[in-house]
């Protein structure tokens, strides 16, 4: 299989279709769940999908060292390449690495402003991102204007932004930690563990709320399952 097929046949296509086209430039999506259900895995799959399409991706991590994030990308890429029997995987991987930048911030010390400043500095240096993935951000202690700040920045730079959000307990409707930022969030997904898979529920998708999808994660590989 060549790269183009990998993009077209990617499970992410179905993922986007089920979410009314997914998120567009200037919009923010959030994947929320309890720990260990596959938030990072989905984020990395979305990141790889963008990278395969030739977009530059900035992966911001608040809770993992850069090396660990890079390992996540390696593992998921290798898994996908193996599954789809990709031609010249080493070459494709090299292309991806050139377009990906991992940023690691200290949660307690770094505010959203500094994240934006760093990405701006990257853009000025010539690495202009098209997608930003933010993993491990602590919504609970976040400043009130942090998400609206990102939203404004995303609009200005035409960025697609995906967050992950950690939840302690399952709640009905939009999780309370996300409520203060609800206006700025375009899509909110919830990972619901079932006996044989992890199903992806939509809590919010633009104007629509609370609907089930046929999207799920394979419990073993944590890859988005294909139809």
């Amino acid at each position: 299989m060549v790269k183009q097929d990998l993009i077209e046949k990617s499970a992410v296509r179905n993922f986007e279709k089920s979410l009314g086209g997914g998120i567009k430039a200037g919009e923010i999506g959030v994947i929320a769940s309890k720990k260990g259900l596959g938030k990072t895995s989905i984020l990395v799959q979305l990141g790889i999908d963008k990278l395969l399409q030739g977009s530059s991706v900035v992966h911001v991590s608040f809770n993992q060292q850069a090396d660990h994030v890079i390992t996540w990308y390696e593992d998921i890429f290798n898994e996908l390449a193996k599954k789809k029997n990709l031609d010249k995987p080493a070459e494709v991987k090299n292309e991806l690495v050139r377009k990906r930048i991992v940023l690691n911030f200290n949660q307690d010390a770094v505010k959203t402003d500094q994240v934006i400043k760093t990405i701006r500095a990257l853009a000025e240096g010539g690495s202009i991102p098209e997608a930003i993935i933010i993993d491990g951000f602590n919504f609970e202690n976040a400043d009130a204007d942090s998400i609206s700040g990102i939203k404004k920045f995303a609009k200005e730079m035409n960025l697609v932004v995906w967050y992950s959000a950690n939840l302690d307990t399952a709640e009905k409707g939009l999780p309370s930690v996300l409520l203060p930022f609800a206006d700025d969030l375009d899509i909110v997904l919830y990972l619901d563990p079932k006996a044989d898979c992890i199903s992806i529920k939509v809590l919010k998708e633009h104007q629509r709320t609370d609907y089930a999808t046929d999207l799920k994660l394979d419990v073993k590989s944590l890859l988005i399952a294909e139809k």
């Binding site: 090396d67 890079i70 500094q114 500095a121 240096g125």
Partner: protein
């Protein structure tokens, strides 16, 4: 001398450049009564510190080579191993780290934890070296040891606790408060040799109590006895020290000392700290690899009667002849012993055995386990393991990277020419990453190493130590060539006019592979007789030595032969070699060859405000930013940058960050040169060849 191994310490002094490491080493020697006057590093008196025993280091004010010096402090014997502080010499640093049992991490009280401290600390962590910290230069304006302590925690993730508090700071630094004994310590008399204990000044009482409590809380984690006693208020100094020692040895606690080496404050208390909290040789687990058992790991015992295992970690060619510094891990080393060098597979006899002070040496007849001694006249390379009792061990072999930069050198006069060979021979033995060879075509001597500065230092050393002046060419990146697709060849070598003829035809194909070179014989039916198959292999091996794009070695190619032809009379070994070379060249250009260049993994660390400049510098150099890690004030950027773009980088980095950022780099991989750059390289190569032909 009665020998008590529990009273022995092998320590290193690890530090950021300019944090005063050499001055500190010098003071340690002074207080241990080994030398009688105190010199400054960049001495106004021109004598210089004795640990930096190379003139070049003296001139640059940096320490390049490590020397081991033995001193006695109270009833303890301490081997001080001076480690180099510059990033480009990390092979040297790492080599000395292997022989250390503990380290003093020196920090500047003003500069605090800087990027190089992070590199150094990472190395200590990698080799599991327990450490105590010393905040030096407390006499400087802006000194703030407590801030440095916080940085040790935040930036290095060390569980750092104050052992002392300063009495006065900057130019008012008078002494320190010992938080275990709860006494004020003053250093008086000439050179601060007289120690006066006194009550803690009233205005510092409450601070002292606060930090002592903090220290005791932390120490209690390591000792139930102390925890209980502390609750009842019956803790003793011994209990506290034992608990801190336990924490330090397990690398879970880092006691912080402070003072000023320059002003002779706090050195004696630091030495006490070394003896109290750093391990003796029996408390460190050392592992060797058994070469007879497929490198199985063997734990060495620090026992006098066990068979000898020792590591030659440092060679020195001084006024006394060739010296090999040896750390004895197991057994003892006696004059007249026969030992086995497991790398060279050679036996040798131990001749003269000495113990070194940097400028003096003492003859000894025996070295004990855990000790560091020096041997005379042993032919070996640094990193060799010496074994007795029929053992065939190697101390864990260190990864030696391939050199990435070449420099042509030629002697300026006859005398230099004689000396050059001697110098190069010595350097290649000392440093596994430094190599040299004579280019058969240009007949020039080429030296190879890990970076610009690395080679510059050796050129300087030739001049100073061997009075050998050389002219240097432009540093040259070690490029490679590689094919990118499969291509066939079918080549006939024929010379049948007069005399004995030559005939051979070779057919097959080339294809890219991961490994450097492979040869596959799939000839069926004897199209090429068996006796000439090795000739083909030889021919291909010759062909890959020099690619036709820019004349660099070809890597990543598999040559398969599947057909051919021979002549009963005119075929020969050489005829098939030439045919194979011809076949290779024929297919090579069809196989879309590309130029590869060394790509370096570069880590740049500096204040957050310069992040934009750092990103810019990487982008200007065809670099890829892999990741960036930051906290409020500090940022580290990891990137991959082609080596050819890194020439002169240290100067540029310094000037664009006001000297506040630093970098380190190591070889990562070979990567393809972009077409535009490749075209330039090819044009340059052609021009050079034309010039040579004229």
């Amino acid at each position: 001398m009665a020998y008590d191994i529990s009273k022995m310490r092998n320590i290193g002094i690890s530090a950021h450049i300019d944090s005063g490491k050499t001055t500190l080493s010098e003071r340690i020697l002074f207080y241990c009564n080994k030398i009688h006057a105190i010199h400054e590093v960049r001495g106004k008196d021109g004598v210089g510190a004795v640990m930096d025993n190379m003139e070049l280091e003296r001139e640059r004010g940096i320490t390049i080579q490590s020397a081991s010096t033995q001193v006695n402090w109270k009833e303890y014997t301490i081997n001080v191993i001076d480690t180099p502080g510059h990033v480009d010499f990390t092979v040297e640093v790492e080599r000395s780290l292997r022989v250390l049992d503990g380290a003093i991490l020196v920090l500047c009280s003003v500069g605090g934890v800087q990027s190089q401290s992070i590199t150094v600390d990472r190395q200590l962590k990698r080799y599991h070296v327990p450490r105590i910290a010393f905040v030096n230069k407390c006499d400087r304006t802006g000194a703030n040891p407590l801030k440095v302590r916080m940085q040790l925690r935040e930036k290095l993730g060390l569980n750092a606790y104050m052992m002392q508090l300063p009495i006065g700071l900057e130019d008012k630094l008078e002494g320190v408060i010992d938080l275990v004994a709860m006494k004020a310590v003053y250093f008086e008399g000439e050179g601060g040799t007289e120690i006066r204990l006194a009550e803690i000044p009233a205005h510092l009482q409450s601070d002292a109590k606060k930090y002592r409590e903090e220290l005791l809380d932390a120490a209690s984690m390591f000792s139930d006895e102390l925890a209980e006693a502390y609750l009842e208020g019956t803790e003793t100094e011994e209990m506290i020290n034992a608990a801190i020692r336990k924490g330090t040895l397990s690398e879970q606690l880092v006691p912080v000392f402070l003072g000023s080496a320059y002003k002779n404050k706090g050195i004696q208390t630091l030495l006490d700290g070394v003896t109290k909290f750093l391990p003796n040789p029996t408390e460190v687990k050392n592992i060797a690899l058994d070469l007879d058992k497929n490198e199985e790991q063997i734990v060495l015992t620090c026992d006098e009667n066990a068979p000898t295992v020792a590591l030659g970690f440092k060679l020195e060619d001084g006024k006394y002849g060739q010296l090999t510094y040896v750390r004895i891990y197991q057994g003892s080393l006696k004059k007249g012993d026969e030992l086995y060098n497991t790398r060279a597979r050679k036996r040798f006899k131990v001749g003269r055995l000495v113990r070194m002070n940097s400028s003096e040496m003492v003859d000894i007849s025996e070295g004990v386990p855990g000790d560091i001694v020096a041997l005379f006249g042993i032919d070996c390379a640094s990193g060799d393991t010496f074994c007795g009792g029929g053992l065939n061990y190697a101390m864990s072999s260190m990864y030696v990277p391939e050199p990435v930069i070449d420099l042509a050198i030629s002697p300026k006069d006859k005398k230099s020419a004689d000396q050059m060979g001697k110098a190069l021979n010595r350097f290649t033995k000392e440093d596994p990453t430094f190599r040299c060879y004579v280019d058969p075509e240009s007949n020039q001597t080429i030296i190879q190493g890990m970076g610009e500065l690395h080679l510059e230092v050796y050129v300087e050393r030739m001049k100073r130590e061997y009075h050998c002046e050389v002219e240097t060419g432009k540093p040259q990146v070690a490029y490679r060539e590689a094919i990118t697709q499969r291509a066939d060849f079918n080549y006939t070598h024929k010379k049948q006019t007069g005399g004995s003829g030559q005939y051979g035809r070779v057919a097959g194909f080339l294809e890219p592979i991961e490994a450097d070179y492979e040869f596959v014989d799939s000839i069926k039916g004897g199209a090429i007789p068996n006796e000439y198959i090795p000739s083909c292999d030889k021919g291909f091996r010759e062909a890959v030595k020099k690619g036709s794009l820019i004349g660099f070695p070809i890597v990543g190619v598999r040559a398969t032969i599947n057909d051919g032809q021979f002549h009963p009379v005119d075929s020969s070994d050489i005829a098939f070699q030439i045919a194979a070379i011809g076949g290779f060249r024929e297919a090579y250009l069809k196989a879309k060859p590309a130029i590869l260049e060394p790509i370096m993994k570069v880590s740049i660390e500096g204040p957050q405000e310069f992040q934009g400049n750092i990103f810019g510098l990487i982008n200007q150099r065809r670099g890829i930013i892999l990741s960036s890690t930051e906290d409020e004030s500090f940022t580290r950027v990891d990137a991959e940058v082609p080596l050819s773009e890194m020439f002169g980088f240290s100067t540029i980095l310094r000037s664009s960050t006001q000297g506040k950022a630093e970098y380190s780099m190591e070889f990562a991989k070979y990567g393809r040169v972009p077409n535009s750059v490749a075209d330039t390289l090819i044009k340059e190569y052609e021009a050079k060849r034309k010039a040579e032909q004229k």
